[in-house]
C-alpha cells in the first residue's frame, strides 16, 4: 500500500494529462477547476508520499537481475520533490491567467500536467535506469510546451531543444552502459555503486566515461558548451520558461548530475582526479559566461535565461566540489535559485502579458505603475545578487566556504569566478530595476503607458507568495541548512 503512495504522484498526472488531451472543455472556468484540482490533489499525494509514506524501494518492473524500474524516495528526492510540488501549484495558478493570451490552453494544460508526473518521476527514481527513462520522457513531454506558439521561432527553438536533449541523453546512455558493467546493481547509494575489484586498472576509462555522462546530463543543466537551447527556449510561454527552464527541466539536469556524482560513481572514486578539475573549470567558466552574456542581453526573458545558465553552474560547482559541504551549498542554491528565478520569470511574464513589452529599454518608468510586479522583481533581484540578508547571500557564502574547505586549487579559481559573477549579476539585475523605477526621460510618446498596470490576482498572488517565501527562507536559513546537511552527508 505504501508502495502505491510512491507510485501514485508519478502516474496520476501522466494519466490525467493524457486523459485531458481529447477533452473539450465547455469554458475556461471548467477547465481551470479540473486542472487545478488535479494539480492540487497530486501535490497532496506527492507531499504525503514524501513525508508520511516511507515506502522504501518500490519495484515497478523487473527486467533482469541488475535491471529494474524502481522508485525510492530518499533525502535528495524529498528536497527536489517538495520544491517541484509546491512550485507547480503556484505556477498553475499563474498559468491560468497568462495562457489566455497564448491560446490553445487545452493542449497546453494536458502536457503541463503530464510533465508534473514526469518530473516527480525523475525525483523519485530509485536507480539509474529509471531516472534515465523519466529523463527522456521529460524531454518529450516538454517539447510541445516549448513549441506552443508554433510559429517559426518556436519551431526553431523546439528543434534546437530536442536535438540538444537527444544528444545529451545519448551521452548519458553511454554512462549508463558502463555503470551497468562496473556495478552490482544500479540502485542509488550514497557513496557510489562501483565495485572496487572491477574498477581497478580501469580508472582512466571510467573517468572519461564519467565526463561523458556528466556533460550528457549537463546539457539539461546548460553547462558550456551545451547551453544554446536554453535562451532559445525562452520563446515558450512564460509559465513554461519559468517552471521548466528555471526549475523543473534544468534542475532535473542538475539533480541527475548530483545523482551521478554522489550516488553512482561516488565521491571517493572521483575526488581529486583530473575529471573533477575538468568539471570545476567547466562550471566556473559557465558561471562567468552566463552573467557576462546576460549583461549584454536587452531582452528581459532571455536575460533571465542567461542568468539561469550562470546560476545552474553555481549549483553544479557546489556539487563538483565533491564534499558534503559543497553539496549542501549547491542544494541551498538550488532551492534559492528556484524560488528567485521563477519569480523573476513571472514578473517578466506579467510585463509581457499586460504590455507586450519584451525589452528592458521598453519598460522604463513602469516601476511605479506595476507596483507588485516590480517590487517582487526588486526583492527577488537583490536576493539573486546576494545582498545580505536576502537569500542568495547565504548560498554564495556557503559555496565559497565549501570551496575553500575543499582545498582544491581549481576551487579557489571558482571563488574568483563567483565574485566576478556577483558583480555582473548586480549589474544586470539592477540595470532592469533602476530603469524601471527611475526613467531617464521625463516624457514618453503617447500610448507608452497604456495598459501598464499590475495584472489580476491570478498572477499577483503567486508573485506575492513566492516573494514572501524567498525572503523568509533568506532570513531564516538555519533549519533548512541543517536538513540539507543531513542529506548531503547521506544520513537521510
Amino acid at each position: 500500500m505504501n508502495g502505491f503512495a510512491t507510485i501514485l504522484p508519478v502516474i496520476f498526472p501522466i494519466i490525467a494529462g493524457v486523459a485531458l488531451l481529447p477533452v473539450k472543455f465547455k469554458d475556461r472556468k471548467q477547465r481551470e477547476i479540473w486542472v487545478f484540482s488535479i494539480t492540487l490533489i497530486n501535490t497532496i499525494f506527492s507531499l504525503y508520499a514524501i513525508y508520511f509514506a516511507d515506502a522504501g524501494v518500490v519495484t515497478l518492473f523487473h527486467f533482469s537481475e541488475k535491471l529494474s524500474l524502481t522508485l525510492h524516495i530518499d533525502g535528495l528526492s524529498k528536497i527536489f520533490g517538495t520544491m517541484v510540488s509546491i512550485l507547480w501549484v503556484i505556477t498553475t495558478v499563474y498559468a491560468f491567467e497568462y495562457m489566455t493570451h497564448e491560446g490553445r490552453e487545452d493542449k497546453f494544460f494536458a502536457f503541463f500536467t503530464m510533465t508534473y508526473g514526469v518530473v516527480l518521476g525523475v525525483a523519485f527514481s530509485g536507480n539509474f535506469l529509471t531516472m534515465y527513462l523519466f529523463y527522456e520522457f521529460l524531454t518529450l513531454a516538454t517539447l510541445p510546451l516549448v513549441m506552443h506558439a508554433m510559429d517559426d521561432k518556436a519551431r526553431h527553438a523546439g528543434k534546437t531543444y530536442i536535438l540538444y536533449m537527444m544528444f545529451g541523453a545519448a551521452l548519458a546512455f553511454i554512462g549508463f552502459v558502463f555503470l551497468y558493467c562496473y556495478s552490482e546493481g544500479m540502485e542509488f547509494t550514497y557513496g557510489g555503486v562501483l565495485i572496487p575489484e572491477l574498477v581497478r586498472g580501469n580508472e582512466f576509462t571510467l573517468q572519461i566515461i564519467f565526463l561523458v555522462a556528466f556533460f550528457g546530463f549537463g546539457v539539461k543543466a546548460a553547462i558550456l558548451p551545451f547551453y544554446r537551447w536554453l535562451p532559445k527556449a525562452s520563446v515558450a510561454p512564460t509559465p513554461v520558461t519559468a517552471l521548466l527552464h528555471a526549475v523543473a527541466v534544468v534542475k532535473s539536469g542538475v539533480f541527475a548530475i548530483i545523482r551521478l556524482i554522489y550516488f553512482s560513481f561516488g565521491i571517493e572514486f572521483l575526488v581529486g582526479t583530473w575529471a573533477q578539475n575538468v568539471i570545476l573549470v567547466a562550471a566556473s567558466i559557465t558561471i562567468v559566461f552566463g552573467s557576462t552574456v546576460a549583461l549584454r542581453t536587452p531582452h528581459i526573458k532571455r536575460r533571465f535565461a542567461y542568468s539561469t545558465i550562470s546560476n545552474l553552474s553555481y549549483i553544479v560547482f557546489g556539487a563538483a566540489l565533491m564534499t558534503p559541504a559543497g553539496l549542501t551549498a549547491g542544494l541551498l542554491h538550488m532551492l534559492y535559485h528556484a524560488m528567485i528565478k521563477i519569480t523573476l520569470f513571472f514578473t517578466a511574464g506579467a510585463i509581457l502579458y499586460k504590455t507586450h513589452r519584451e525589452y528592458l529599454y521598453e519598460v522604463e518608468g513602469f516601476g511605479r505603475l506595476m507596483p507588485i510586479t516590480f517590487l517582487s522583481m526588486a526583492l527577488t533581484g537583490v536576493s539573486l545578487v546576494g545582498v545580505p540578508p536576502f537569500a542568495g547571500f547565504h548560498s554564495k557564502w556557503a559555496l565559497a566556504t565549501a570551496a575553500v574547505k575543499s582545498g582544491n586549487m581549481i576551487a579557489y579559481l571558482g571563488i574568483v569566478a563567483l565574485i566576478i559573477s556577483a558583480v555582473l549579476t548586480a549589474l544586470y539585475i539592477f540595470y532592469v530595476i533602476i530603469r524601471a523605477y527611475f526613467p531617464r526621460k521625463k516624457e514618453y510618446a503617447e500610448g507608452y503607458y497604456d495598459h501598464v498596470e499590475d495584472p489580476n490576482k491570478y498572477m499577483t498572488i503567486p508573485l506575492i507568495v513566492l516573494t514572501a517565501i524567498t525572503i523568509l527562507i533568506g532570513l531564516f536559513p538555519s533549519n533548512l541548512l541543517h536538513v540539507l546537511e543531513l542529506v548531503a552527508t547521506g544520513i537521510i
Binding site: 508554433m150 517559426d152 521561432k153 519551431r155 526553431h156 523546439g158 528543434k159 534546437t160 536535438l163 544528444f167 558550456l224 558548451p225 551545451f226 547551453y227 544554446r228 567558466i285 562567468v288 559566461f289 557576462t292 552574456v293 549583461l295 549584454r296 537583490v382 545578487v385 545582498v387 545580505p388 540578508p389 547571500f393 547565504h394 557564502w397 565559497a400 566556504t401 575553500v404 571563488i415 565574485i419 556577483a422 558583480v423 555582473l424 548586480a426 539592477f430 533602476i434 527611475f438 526613467p439 531617464r440 533568506g474 532570513l475 531564516f476 536559513p477 538555519s478 541548512l481
Partner: protein
C-alpha cells in the same frame, strides 16, 4: 533591568516604522511627517538610554551566522550621534520637502537607512556589520537618486557601482578572515590577529576589507562618488550622507585599525598615507568648486582625511595614542555636527532658490542675519577657529603628530616624513579656511551683480519657525562644544578610549595655550593667503560686463571617474567579456553547424537559423491531410514505432 533588548529594537524599530510611515503616508501626509519625527525621536531616546550600560544582544541563527550587537561606549556615542542628526534632519525635511513628489518613498528609505546605519554602528561582529552595511548602501541609493534628475541618476549609479564593488571586495576579505580565524566576532578577531606571528596574509585580508569601508568613507582612490552624490541628493539626505553614512565607513576603519591592527605601525602608515592624500585632495577640490553643496561635499572628503590621519596616527603612536584616539572620535563627532549645520543651511538656500551655483546664489544671504549667524557658526567650527569645536579636535590630531615627531627625534630617526605630514595638515587646515571663506563671502557678504537670479524668492519668510529653531539649536551646540572641552569633548573621548585600546593622556591638554594656538594661527595665515592671492585672483575673473564672477578652473581631464573608472568598467571590461563570450559561443555554433550538416544532409551546408522547413510543416498543410506526412516528424514517429516493436520482441 536588562538593556540588551534595546539594541535590536534600535535597529529594527525604525525599519518597522518605515513601513508604518509608508502606509500612513498614503492616506495622510501631515500625520506621516509627524510620525517619522516621532520614530526618530524615540530612537534617539533609546540610544541615550543605552549610554554607559554596556549592553549586548545576540539573535542566533538569523541570516545564517546570527546577529550580534554590542553597546559599548564608542558604539553608543555613534548611535546617539546618528539618531540625533537623523532626528534633526527628519524635522527639517518637513519644510524642505513640502513641494516635492515621492515623499512617501523618501520617508520610507530614510527610516530604513536609519535602522541599517544603527545596525552598522552597534554591530559586535563583522558579519552583522556587513549585512547592515549592505542594506544601508542600497537604501541610501534611493535617497541619492531621489531628485531623478540626470545628474542625480548618474551620480547614484556611480554611488551604487562603487558600493557594490566595494562591498563585494570587503565580503571577499571577510570571507577569507572567517576562513583563517573561524569567527567574525570583532573582539575574538582582535585576539586572533594579535596571536599571529606571520601577518602578511592578514594585512592582505585587512586591505580587502578596507576597500568597502574606505569607499563608503570616501577615502582616496575610491572617493569619486562622494563629490558627485552628496550635492545631488536633497539637502537633508546630503546632510545624512555626509555626516553619518561616511562615518559608517570610518567605523569599519576603526574596527580594523583599533581592534584587528591595534598599535600596528605598518597599518597605521597605510591609513595615514591614504588619509593625507584624501585630506589634501578634498581641500583642493573644494577650493576649486563653484557649487555650494559640492564645496561642502569636497570639504567632507577633506575632513574624512583628517579623521583618517588621526586613525593612522593611533597606529603609529602605539600605546601612547590617547591624543590621536581623542582626536579621532572628536573630529568624527564634530565634523558630523558641523556638516549638519552647513548642509541644512545650504538646504535653506536651495529650498528658496532651487539653485546652488555660486554666481547665481551670490548675495542671497546678505539680508538674512539668522541664516548668516547659523552658517557662520559652521564656518568657524570647521575652519578650526579657537572656541569652536573643530579647533579642539584638530588640535588633538595636530598634537599627536607633533608628539610622534618628538618621539622620532628622541630615537634619533629621520623626521622629514612626519614633518611633511604636519605641514600638509596645516596646509589643508588653511585651505579649509580659504574655501569656507569663499562660500561664506559669496553667499552672505557680496552683492550679486545680477540680482535677477537670486531675488525671486517667495513672499513671506524664507524658512518657517520650526526649521529656524532646528538650525539655531544645531548651530549653538558648536561653540558650546568648542569653548568647554573639559566638560563635553573630553568626556566623549574618555568614553571611547576603551574601544580604541587607548589610555588617558599623561597630562591634561591645554587647548588654549600658545603652543596649540600656534597651529591654528599658521592655518589662518595660510588660509588668508590662499583666499586673497589664489581664489580672488585666479578663480574669479571679469565677465563681459566687467563684474567679477566665480569660474570653474578645474581642468576637465583631471577626473578619475570619467577618465579611468567609467571607461574601464563600462566600456573595456564588458567589451572584453562579451568578446570572450562570443568566441566561446561560436565554438558551439560551429558544433551545431556540423551536426546540422550531418543530421539533415543539407545540400549547401549553410546555416539558416530562424526558419524551419524540416521539423514540421503544420501550417502549410490542410487540416484534413495527414500531418505526419514527411520530414523530421515522420522520422521521429518511425523511430518510435521501431523502438516499440523491438521492445515487444524482447519482452515476448
Amino acid at each position: 533591568m536588562d538593556f540588551g533588548i534595546i539594541l535590536p529594537l534600535l535597529v529594527f524599530f525604525p525599519m518597522v516604522g518605515a513601513i508604518l510611515v509608508y502606509l500612513i503616508g498614503r492616506k495622510n501626509k501631515e500625520a506621516r511627517n509627524n510620525l517619522a519625527c516621532v520614530v526618530t525621536f524615540l530612537v534617539l531616546l533609546g540610544a541615550v538610554l543605552l549610554f554607559g550600560k554596556h549592553a549586548s544582544f545576540t539573535i542566533p541563527g538569523f541570516c545564517g551566522l546570527g546577529l550580534h550587537f554590542d553597546g559599548d561606549e564608542l558604539r553608543v556615542v555613534m548611535a546617539i550621534l546618528t539618531s540625533f542628526i537623523w532626528f534633526m534632519t527628519t524635522v527639517f525635511s518637513k519644510e524642505y520637502f513640502a513641494l516635492y513628489r515621492n515623499r512617501n518613498r523618501y520617508y520610507f528609505f530614510l527610516l530604513m537607512t536609519l535602522g541599517a546605519t544603527l545596525g552598522v554602528f552597534l554591530s559586535a561582529d563583522l558579519y552583522t556589520t556587513f549585512i547592515f552595511f549592505e542594506i544601508m548602501s542600497f537604501t541610501s541609493f534611493v535617497l541619492v537618486i531621489h531628485d531623478e534628475s540626470e545628474a542625480a541618476i548618474r551620480a547614484a549609479h556611480t554611488y551604487l557601482g562603487i558600493a557594490v564593488i566595494g562591498g563585494l571586495i570587503t565580503l571577499t576579505g571577510l570571507f577569507m578572515m572567517y576562513h583563517m580565524a573561524g569567527t567574525l566576532n570583532i573582539d575574538a578577531l582582535a585576539e586572533f590577529v594579535a596571536s599571529q606571528e606571520e601577518k602578511k596574509a592578514i594585512y592582505a585580508v585587512g586591505v580587502l576589507i578596507l576597500v568597502g569601508f574606505g569607499a563608503k568613507a570616501g577615502l582616496f582612490p575610491l572617493h569619486v562618488w562622494l563629490p558627485e552624490a552628496h550635492p545631488v541628493a536633497p539637502a537633508p539626505a546630503s546632510a545624512l550622507l555626509s555626516c553619518i553614512l561616511t562615518k559608517s565607513g570610518v567605523y569599519g576603519m576603526l574596527v580594523l585599525s583599533c581592534k584587528l591592527f591595534l598599535h600596528d605601525a605598518n597599518w597605521g602608515n597605510l591609513i595615514l598615507i591614504l588619509g593625507v592624500i584624501t585630506m589634501v585632495l578634498g581641500a583642493v577640490l573644494a577650493v576649486f568648486s563653484i557649487d555650494l553643496k559640492r564645496t561642502l561635499a569636497c570639504s567632507s572628503l577633506s575632513q574624512i582625511g583628517f579623521i583618517a590621519v588621526a586613525i593612522g596616527m593611533q597606529g603609529l603612536l602605539g600605546s601612547h595614542n590617547a591624543l590621536a584616539a581623542g582626536g579621532t572620535i572628536l573630529h568624527l563627532v564634530n565634523h558630523s555636527l558641523l556638516k549638519l549645520v552647513l548642509f541644512m543651511s545650504a538646504g535653506v538656500v536651495y529650498m528658496n532658490l532651487h539653485r546652488l551655483h555660486l554666481n547665481e546664489i551670490r548675495g542671497w544671504g546678505k539680508d538674512k542675519p539668522l541664516l548668516k549667524f547659523v552658517f557662520l557658526m559652521g564656518v568657524l567650527g570647521i575652519t578650526g577657529i579657537p572656541f569652536w569645536n573643530g579647533y579642539i579636535s584638530k588640535t588633538l590630531i595636530h598634537e599627536s603628530i607633533v608628539e610622534y615627531i618628538e618621539i622620532l627625534h628622541h630615537a634619533g630617526q629621520a623626521t622629514t616624513y612626519m614633518q611633511t605630514v604636519e605641514w600638509l595638515f596645516l596646509f589643508s587646515g588653511g585651505l579649509t579656511l580659504a574655501y569656507m571663506t569663499k562660500i561664506f563671502v559669496a553667499v552672505f557678504v557680496e552683492t550679486n551683480p545680477y540680482p535677477g537670479n537670486a531675488a525671486h524668492h517667495n513672499e513671506g519668510p524664507y524658512m518657517n519657525r520650526l526649521s529656524a529653531i532646528i538650525l539655531v539649536v544645531c548651530a549653538v551646540i558648536l561653540p558650546l562644544l568648542g569653548a568647554l572641552p573639559q566638560f563635553t569633548g573630553e568626556k566623549i573621548a574618555e568614553a571611547s578610549y576603551h574601544f580604541m585600546g587607548a589610555h588617558g593622556p599623561e597630562h591634561a591638554v591645554h587647548y588654549f595655550a600658545w603652543v596649540n594656538l600656534k597651529g591654528a594661527v599658521l592655518s589662518v595665515v595660510i588660509g588668508a593667503l590662499v583666499y586673497f592671492l589664489f581664489i580672488r585672483k585666479v578663480l574669479m575673473e571679469k565677465d563681459d560686463n566687467g563684474n567679477m564672477v566665480y569660474v570653474d578652473r578645474w581642468p576637465k581631464g583631471l577626473n578619475l571617474e570619467n577618465k579611468i573608472y567609467r571607461p574601464v568598467l563600462l566600456s573595456f571590461l564588458p567589451f572584453a567579456g562579451s568578446l570572450l563570450a562570443r568566441f566561446v559561443s561560436t565554438l558551439t555554433d560551429g558544433f551545431v553547424a556540423v551536426l546540422r550538416m550531418l543530421v539533415f544532409n543539407d545540400d549547401s551546408g549553410r546555416v539558416v537559423p530562424p526558419e524551419d522547413r524540416y521539423f514540421s510543416a503544420y501550417t502549410d498543410f490542410d487540416d484534413k491531410k495527414v500531418v505526419y506526412g514527411e520530414g523530421f516528424a515522420k522520422s521521429l514517429l518511425m523511430i518510435g514505432v521501431g523502438l516499440a516493436v523491438a521492445m515487444l520482441y524482447i519482452l515476448l
